[in-house]
Amino acid sequence: MTAELGHFTLILALCVALVQAVFPLVGAARDNEVWMGLARPTAMFQFLLVAISFGCLTHLYVTSDFSVLNVASNSNTAMPMLYKISGVWGNHEGSLLLWVLILAIFGAAVAAFGRNLPPALRARVLSVQSMIAVGFYLFMLFTSNPFERLFPAPINGRELNPLLQDPGLAFHPPMLYLGYVGFSMAFSFAIAALIEGRVDAAWARWVRPWTMAAWCFLTGGITLGSWWAYYELGWGGWWYWDPVENASFMPWLAGTALLHSATVVEKRDSLKGWTVLLAIITFSLSLLGTFLVRSGVLTSVHAFATDPTRGVFILMLLIVVIGGSLALYAFRAPKLVSSGLFQPISREGALLFNNLVMTTAAAAVLLGTLYPLFLDAIGGGKVSVGPPFFNAVFIPIMIPMIAAMAFGPLLNWKRGDLVAAFGQLKLAAILGLVALAATYMWQTDGPIFATLGMGLAVWLAVGTLTELAGRARLFSAPAGAWGRFRRMPRASWGMVLGHFGLALAIAGMAGAGGWTKESIQTMHPGEKVELAGYEFTFDGASEGQGPNYTAIVGKFTVRKGGDEIAKLVAEKRNYPIGGMPTTEAGIETRLAGDLYAVIGDPEGEDGAYVTRLYFNPLVVWMWIGAMVMVFGGVLSLTDRRYRVGAPKRSRAGAAVAAGA
């Protein structure tokens, strides 16, 4: 029954979505208030229906109903409850249901909290949002129905991939989707603006919170995935430039650019056409990511089970949504007239520079990701584009931007003084160079980018703090500084934290990418290994058990200078149902770096095991930096100026109406 209910509500949701997609849009064009008024209730109702459908699927998993194909393929009674629940979205069909759920959540949120939006704009936005949903409902109902039944029902299902049975990874898809789908809101706003033929400061203010929320989630989701890869996959790596990782990174780059350019639209009435295009591009990249993961055109560790019919359907969806929006853009964007003028050296100029670098970087990543496909399609043979390419291309593109990030906030709007800004940044420059030199002298065997990264990280961190101090006049008028700090708008704090967080993350990336130390050997109990100034002692291995796995549990003691500083527990798990082993590394996180131990197979009969030991410098700075960035974004979101929107406009309108 539950499966049929879930299926039925999904079909109903499609019907409601069709209504929501058509009537408010037409109503806005014809100034029909009744039809426009349909937007909010249909959005709410659609959300309710999808929520019920999602609840049904969750219930099926929780109760282990193996008469449903999706549950039988991805769940098992022996699995812990957390993974039964995360199994809902750990597969192709379920994850699509999560997609539409989040689409519906955002739609309902605009319906509920977008009271200060002009009705016509709100109607258009919700209509466009619903059109996207219609595409996904059709995709699900025709090719990827999560509620398909299985006869005869097996006694027990297969398992969720043991690698996915992990708390970090359980939440990685929901966060990512909140990001991807959140950008659909900016997309809908952009389409609505194109249809209306107008973009103004008010539009930018409305778009900003939704874009910021999506950005926070996407940053969090990517970080979670990276963190998981680091502690789970067993050799301390955290980014592989895998096609699906790139598919999440490109919308992030475009989304960050969008946040910055929306500021220019809002404050200076410029870069309108460009911002609208960016909003379209950001969501298009999200959709493209969906295509890449599920169609089988690229080989990737992340790919879901692939099916050619699905690939064709998603491609059709892509063509309609992206092609349609870009066609609309080609037709309507010339109508958007920008009036703000500014010098190349100015705050707007710096924001424009951010945009140029971010989009160039995104384009480069897109090129690398899709190149094997292009070359094969024109018969040029098979080629691989791996981390060496991406690192060689991405890092040099980003370096100028990171250097510029310290200047940007110090420049005035419209016309900035670069020399004065640099004068303020003297300390940052000196400390940056000191860090560069110190790193170079201390670790001469690292790659040049890592050393450069440390210098840039310090430059950015000190530069950001300098701007903050200058704004509060911390050193020139220290008396009132605390008051000035407190009165600073939250969005400004958001920016400071965002930039500072990035500096921390860059330091972490430089450390982890540049100076990792590794040691592979067979160890007998009691044997010691020296690594990076630490002494690892193998304390032997024993057998362990979990709810659905057996394990070899290895224990290590780490000493520095004779003193014990950590005990590490590493596991090699075997999941009999899933049929594959996983490693759980023993990690001790310290500010200077992570001590990381992995246990492998036994060697011989006398208790010796293969072990891998690592010292990964500064890794934790990446996670801390990312969290600081997300926190900054959340802080920005809570800035009242953005939640209130722009009621001034309606007041001005009322004044004009009164005066006329």
């Binding site: 789970e232 560790v301 003028l341 160039t360 090129l367 080629v383 390419f389 592979i520 490693t583 492998g600």
Partner: protein
């Protein structure tokens, strides 16, 4: 349907082998040779996996390729000779860093082209801005009568 799903997921399982790749038994005695072997392995793609190097991968073929690399290095091959041998068997696909040849020209030059386009776009944008600014700044010349009126206004109006 289920069978296809099972097969695909099985492939996914097979590919996503974490745990230990390089076995201590594979490690060469000569540290310099071993370092070269690791370096080369990191640049060779595991052809049966979903995007890993043979250094990272647990697959049997990856292990055999690692052993082959070490054998050839021990026999005296240079790094280039070892890599060329593997490429002669599997093609450029096996190189994680795409080679710089005619087929990959667009790949390597692409990012440079994007940077150039970005700069051109920026220049064009600022030039258009300057033209727009020049337009608003350039006011039509005043006629004599208008100039007189302006003088009167400026002198007479004391505020």
């Amino acid at each position: 349907m289920l069978k296809r799903l099972l097969l695909a997921t099985a492939l996914l399982f097979a590919a996503l082998q974490p745990a230990l790749a390089v076995d201590p038994a594979e490690v060469l005695d000569d540290p310099a040779l071993e370092a070269r072997a690791r370096d080369i392995s990191k640049g060779l793609r595991c052809v049966v996996c979903q995007n890993q190097s043979i250094d990272d991968s647990d697959a049997t073929l990856a292990r055999d390729l690692r052993l082959l690399v070490r054998e050839r290095l021990t026999a005296g091959d240079s790094n280039k000779q070892v890599v060329d041998y593997v490429v002669s068997r599997y093609g450029d696909f096996v190189l994680l860093k795409p080679p710089f040849k005619f087929a990959t020209l667009a790949l390597w030059l692409g990012p440079l082209l994007f940077v150039a386009l970005a700069l051109i776009a920026a220049f064009a944008f600022f030039r258009r801005q300057r033209a727009a600014r020049a337009e608003t700044v350039a006011a039509p010349a005043l006629s004599d009568e208008q100039k007189k009126r302006l003088d009167d206004l400026l002198k007479g109006d004391g505020s």
